[in-house]
């Protein structure tokens, strides 16, 4: 069966520090991968998605970037965090046939 791992679960970082959140998927190949952000009291905002290694699409302009160095690895990064980057970040995958998405447990990021 497929599983998705996302870490760390919580992170407190100072303004201006770098960020690296990692997500890996097991039990499937060539998945579509996604990074979402969930602000308090709001829905999910799609940040990045990837349909293959090295293929990254950004949905919104921002202080963040994403990379997919391996088929089942998706990384969310920032060179310098802003206060507004605080939130709950969710990684997800879906099969190439584009049906349902499966989510990781999320990372609570607090920028101080």
């Amino acid at each position: 069966s497929q599983t998705i791992h996302q870490w760390p679960a919580t992170l407190v970082q100072p303004v201006g520090s770098p960020l690296s959140l990692e997500c890996t998927v097991e039990g499937t190949s060539n998945p579509n991968l996604y990074w979402y952000r969930q602000a308090a009291g709001r829905g999910l905002q799609l940040l990045f998605y990837s349909v293959g290694i090295g293929q990254i699409s950004s949905e919104v302009p921002q202080n963040l970037s994403a990379s997919r160095p391996q088929d089942r690895q998706f990384i969310l990064s920032s060179k310098k965090l802003l206060l507004s980057d605080s939130g709950f970040y969710l990684c997800a995958w879906s099969p190439q046939m584009n049906t349902e998405a499966f989510f990781g447990q999320g990372t609570r990021l607090t920028v101080v």
Partner: protein, 114 residues
């Protein structure tokens, strides 16, 4: 493009009472529809999905939803809720093609009152 509207941001309901969480979508093409549940500080868990076939879909934890194409709705129902059903519920819609076309509603907070 598709979009999703969850009309109720909060729904309080007494334990063992029935509940309906409303979801309407807009799309000019055939879609796939989903309901997810999110417990505090956790990811989203798939409750049920409609891809094709029977319009009444049964999911986990005793939930079901009915796809109504004429009303473009996909309401979630449970005949008797438990305290453990207290969570945030998200409706989502996806068009048949494209990797970036999964759209979520803003969520409904279900609070079950003992």
């Amino acid at each position: 493009a598709q979009s999703v509207t969850q009309l109720d941001s909060q729904v309080p309901v007494f334990e063992e009472a029935p509940v309906e969480l409303r979801c309407n979508y807009s799309s000019s093409v055939s879609v796939y529809l989903f309901w997810y549940v999110q417990y505090p500080n956790q990811g989203l868990q798939l409750l049920l999905k409609y891809l094709s076939g029977s319009t009444l879909v049964k999911g986990i934890n005793g939930f079901e939803a009915e796809f109504n194409k004429s009303q473009t709705s996909f309401h979630l129902r449970k005949p008797s809720v438990h305290i453990s059903d207290t969570a945030e519920y998200f409706c989502a819609v996806r068009g048949p093609t494209g990797a970036n076309n999964l759209f979520f509603g803003t969520g409904t907070r279900l609070t079950v009152i003992p």
